[in-house]
Structures are given as C-alpha cells and as structure tokens.
C-alpha cells in the first residue's frame, strides 16, 4: 500500500496558506508575541496550545484582524493581511462565548454572514440548510439561541462560522464550555467536519488532550513563543525541551551530568548512580542533561530485573488510582521521585504493590529522552 501521509510541513515544495514572518506584538512594555515565524498549510488542523497568557489568543486575534502585529507580517495565501479589516478577510472565527446573536433565530444566525455578502436569497437558503444538516440542527432552525442547549449552541456557532466557506477557520477554545463527556463527542465531530469541508482550522486551547486529539500539528507556546510545533505523536514521544515534555502528559524529569557512552549518554543523577539514554544530541561530558521518561514506559517489579541497564530501587510513597490505570510515585534514596504507570488488568484486591513497598523500577535504553534544556 502506498498511502500518502498528510504532512505538508515536511514537503519543501508545499505552499503554506498562512505565513507568520518575524511577527511581534507588544502591549506597552509587555511582549505578547515575541518574533515568531512559522507556516500553516492548507487543510491543516493546527492547534495553539499553552497556559493562559502565553500569547495563543493574541495569535488568533491577529489572524482574525482584531489585532495588528507591532512588527513583522502575516501572509494569507501570499498576501499581506495587515491592511485588510476583519470584515473583508476570508477568515471566520468561532468565539469562545459562541457570540450567537440573541435576537436572531438559529437560521438567521447562520444566514447572517451570507446576507452581508448580498448573495441571492435562494443561494442563502440552500447554504443555511446545508449547514444545518452538517451540524444536525435542522429541527432547531426556528429557535432562539437561549432555547437550545450548550452543545447545540456550540454547533450553531460552528455552522455560522463555516457558512461563508472561509479559507481559514479560527476556533477559540471551542469546547471550553462543554462538559467532559459532550466534549469528547464534539472533538470527533469537529474533526469530521474539518475533513468534510476541507477547511483549514486553527484552534486555540489550553487543554492538551483536546489539542492532541483533534490536531494534525500542535504548537506548544510559552511566553509569546512557539516552543515546538509538531504532530501530536512527536510532541509526546520526542519533545524538544523540558517545558514541552512537562506540559504534555505526565513525565518524570531526571537531571544530572552527562557522560558519552555507546550510542547515548549516562546521566549521573546521584552519588554513584546513573541512568542511560540513547540520544543523537551532541553534548560535552560533564554538561547538565535532563532525561524525560513517560510513566507508562517505566516497569515496576519487586525483584531486580535482569539484563536491563536502567534499574533503580525505591519506596512507593503515593498511588494515584484512576480506575483503568494506577500511577505509583516511587521515591529513590536521593529524594528523586519517579512515576510508573501500569494498567490495572487485575482486580484491586489482587494488586501486587502498596504503600511503603520497596520496589524496582526499570526502563529500556530508548524509553528516556535526553534533553538539553
């Protein structure tokens, strides 16, 4: 089978839809976006992920036209969008509060943008019906926004922003107001609609699970900078910094001086104790390095495992029981805590470990990721 993977960012010939070129945004002394350059490609589902105040919303508002960059340019389809006001941009936005017009019916809300384009009436009619069908809202067309549920309102907001068939759709925390269960369903629905319409989506979220689920690429942001922009699997398995490793998912970070060995490095994290990780990084001996290990890649056992290079002994200080999984917090003699996660395939009463147990933790040479910063 010769299936092409969707990865235009790896194709040097691909033409990006959006290009940020050395974009900086300042509010007085505060730098919200710090000299950022990156590309977003057509049909991508691009997630801007970060804690509040990291600049992700500013990025989105600059794309929508509600903010202008202090320095640098933003190109949409090769054209500088700075002089184009929001009402003239082929960009639509779905607002965090949904911003549905309370005095208009669902039907009129969706038709609002089409009416502004002075489209013929039958065309508007057809397009609104199509949008209602796409978002499964046909039966609510005549209702007002306050007469429908939160999930339905979210879909109206989506339908309204998609009605004008924008080149780019911006979604500002689109699922923030929904409860967990509805959120999951809606995530898949969102991906489905994105695939059906072929629109480029840029989503802003602080929820890493949401970003990982829906996005083709995730950009992890901090203090006005994109730290890493990569597909979800790469963000998780090969973070480029301690910040990204720590922000996405659960992780144990072990810090120590490195010594080159075989295809990687030994990291001495305590007196006479070291762990090993394969790495292609080029570090000098004695430099400080960080190993990031995902808890699910750490095995827990009562006996010292054989033929494994990375094995440490410690005491269980905490157990986080999540039902399907349990995370053990194991304290090593030097005070370092290492997390180990196991699937609870057995009933709780027959679980092998409990608090204060002395256990061995082990992982393979490739499980830990060596990071410079």
């Amino acid at each position: 089978m010769n299936q092409t993977v969707f990865a235009p960012w790896e194709d040097p010939a691909a033409k990006p839809l959006i290009q940020f070129k050395n974009v900086t945004k300042r509010y007085g002394d505060f730098t919200a976006i710090d000299n950022q350059s990156f590309d977003i490609y057509e049909q991508e589902f691009f997630a801007l992920l970060g804690p509040s105040g990291c600049g992700k919303t500013t990025m989105m508002r600059m794309l929508a036209g509600f903010e202008t960059p202090t320095e640098g340019t933003i190109l949409l389809g090769g054209e500088d969008i700075a002089p184009i006001p929001p009402n003239k941009r082929a960009v639509n936005m779905m607002f965090q509060s949904y911003a549905l017009f309370p005095h208009l019916s669902i039907w009129e809300n969706i038709a609002f943008g089409l009416r502004r384009d002075k489209k013929p009436n039958d065309e508007i009619q057809a397009r609104v019906e199509e949008m209602l069908k796409l978002t499964r809202l046909t039966q609510f067309a005549k209702r007002k926004p306050h007469q429908i549920s939160g999930g339905q309102r979210q879909r109206v907001a989506l339908a309204r922003s998609l009605a004008k068939a924008p080149k780019l759709l911006l979604l500002d925390e689109p699922l923030g107001a929904l409860d967990a269960k509805l959120r999951q369903d809606t995530q898949f629905e969102l991906m489905d609609i994105q695939e059906k319409t072929g629109t480029t989506f840029v989503i802003v979220t602080h929820d890493q699970e949401e970003a990982m689920t829906v996005a083709s690429r995730v950009a992890v942001m901090d203090h006005g900078q994109i730290i890493q922009a990569a597909p979800p699997a790469q963000i998780y398995e090969a973070p480029n910094s301690v910040y990204v490793a720590d922000f996405i998912g659960d992780v144990t970070i072990i810090e120590g001086a490195v010594t080159a060995k075989d295809n990687g490095y030994d990291i001495a994290f305590a007196e006479g104790q070291s762990v090993y990780a394969e790495s292609t990084l080029n570090l000098t001996n004695g430099q400080t390095g960080y190993i990031a290990i995902r808890p699910e890649k750490v095995a827990i056992s009562s006996e010292k495992p054989e033929r494994v290079r990375n094995a440490v002994q410690g005491k269980i200080i905490d157990i986080a029981y999540l039902g399907n999984l349990s995370t053990y917090y194991v304290e090593l003699p030097n005070g370092q805590t290492v997390k180990s996660q196991t699937a609870n395939t057995r009933r709780l009463s027959r679980r092998s470990f409990t608090w204060e147990d002395e256990v061995w933790l082990s992982w393979t040479d490739t499980a830990g990721i060596l990071l410079e910063r």
Binding site: S97, F101, G113, R116, G150
Partner: protein, 271 residues
Amino acid sequence: MRRLTWFNTTSLTLGFVFLYLPMVILIIFSFNESKLVTVWAGFSTKWYGEVIRNEAFLSAAWVTLRVAVVSSTIATVLGTMAAYVLVRAGRFKGRTLFSGMIYAPLVMPEVITGLSLLLLFIGIGLDRGIFTIILAHTTFSMCYVSVVVSSRLVSFDQSLEEAALDLGCTPMESFRLVTLPIIAPAVISGWLLAFTLSLDDLVIASFTAGPSATTLPIKIWSSIRLGVSPEINALSTLMIGVVTVGVITASIISKRATLRQQAEERAADQP
C-alpha cells in the same frame, strides 16, 4: 414571606401618605363642582371641559409636547453615543474626567443650568423660543439617557460585535444590526425618561423660554400666581396621568428586558 409588623405597616403608611397625599388631594379637588378650591361642593368634570376649551393651555401643551418629543429624541441619540464611547473606548487619557463630566449635570442645581444656558443664548444672540427650550432640555436629559444606556452596555458581550465584524459587517452595520437591537430596551427607557423629564421641567424652561413659546408647567406656574383655580387642578391631574403612564411604561420595558436576560442566562447555564 416576612410578616408585616405594626411598625413596618406604620412606616409604610406614613411614607406613602407623605409622598402621595398632596397629589391625591389635588386629584380629588379637580373633580370639585365649586369654584373655590378648598370647599367641596359635589362631583363634577366641568373643569376638565374648561381646560380643553382653554386656548392658552392647549397651545402651551402643544409646545410642551413638541419640545419633549424632539429634545428626548436628540438626547437619546447623543446620550447613547456618549455611553457607547465611554464604555467601549477603553482607557483613553482623561476617561474618568469625561465620564465625571457626563454625570455632573445630574447633580447640578437646575437654576445654574438654566442661568448658564440663558447667558449662552444671549451671548450668541439666539432668540429665545421653542428652539432654545429644546436645546436646553436636550442638554440636561442627555445625561440621564447616557446613564441608563451605559449601565446596559457594561454587561454587553463585546464578542458579539466582533462576531458581526468577522461575518462581514462594517462597524456601522454591526452597531445597527447587532448592538442596537440588543440594547434597544435601555435606549427606549432612556427616551421615556428624557421625555417625562422634559414634560414637567419648569426651572430650566422658564430661563430659556421666550414670549413666543410657553410650556405647560410655565403656564400653570404663572396662572396660580393669580390664585389657584380648579381648572389648574384638572390640568395637573392630566399631567400626572401622562407622566405616570410614561414612567410605568419605562419601568415595565426595562423590567421585561431584565427578566428575559435572566432567562437567557439561566438557559445558558444548563448544558
């Protein structure tokens, strides 16, 4: 429900008697047969007939009505604009000063407002008449409109306007199609407030009215200096009626809007 104790009942009664007894007496005596205001001589509606046949009263009433409609309309437009800028423009330099200056005429003694307007009109050589009363009434009722409208705008979700812009509206269209319909109840009750204020203003009107135009309150004031007649009682009762209807309508409109908004918020809370 809290029980009405004798103390509460007494204070309530005293309060309302204090507020409304004079008006009730006025209304009762407007139906008096006798020409003597303070002597009851049986029920009659003849003074209402006299009022309706009195040319001077009718022309004054017509002036008052025109002044009230025109000035409250202009005041509503200007007051809404002022409220919009003060709520939306964010922190520009001197914002506090400006908003303070909008509210200052609310507490300014009417005599001072009237006198300063009079000096201005004389200074620029404007003949006093219906036009100057309209200007004067617009000036002071605008503040009331702006207070009412800005309190609504504060709770207005600004992303609604951004959404309108995003969907292709020009800023003017977004105001006309989205903002205005939503704040309409506040704008209407602002208009009604301005209308009733203009209707019964005596002090400012007497400073700015000329021989060519007399408003009803001025007419009443000048005729009772010759002695109170039952005719005045009848006229005043009619005015009380108009003002009451205006105030009640304004409060019903704003009450309904609040209830609807609360219902929407409740609905929004449910998943």
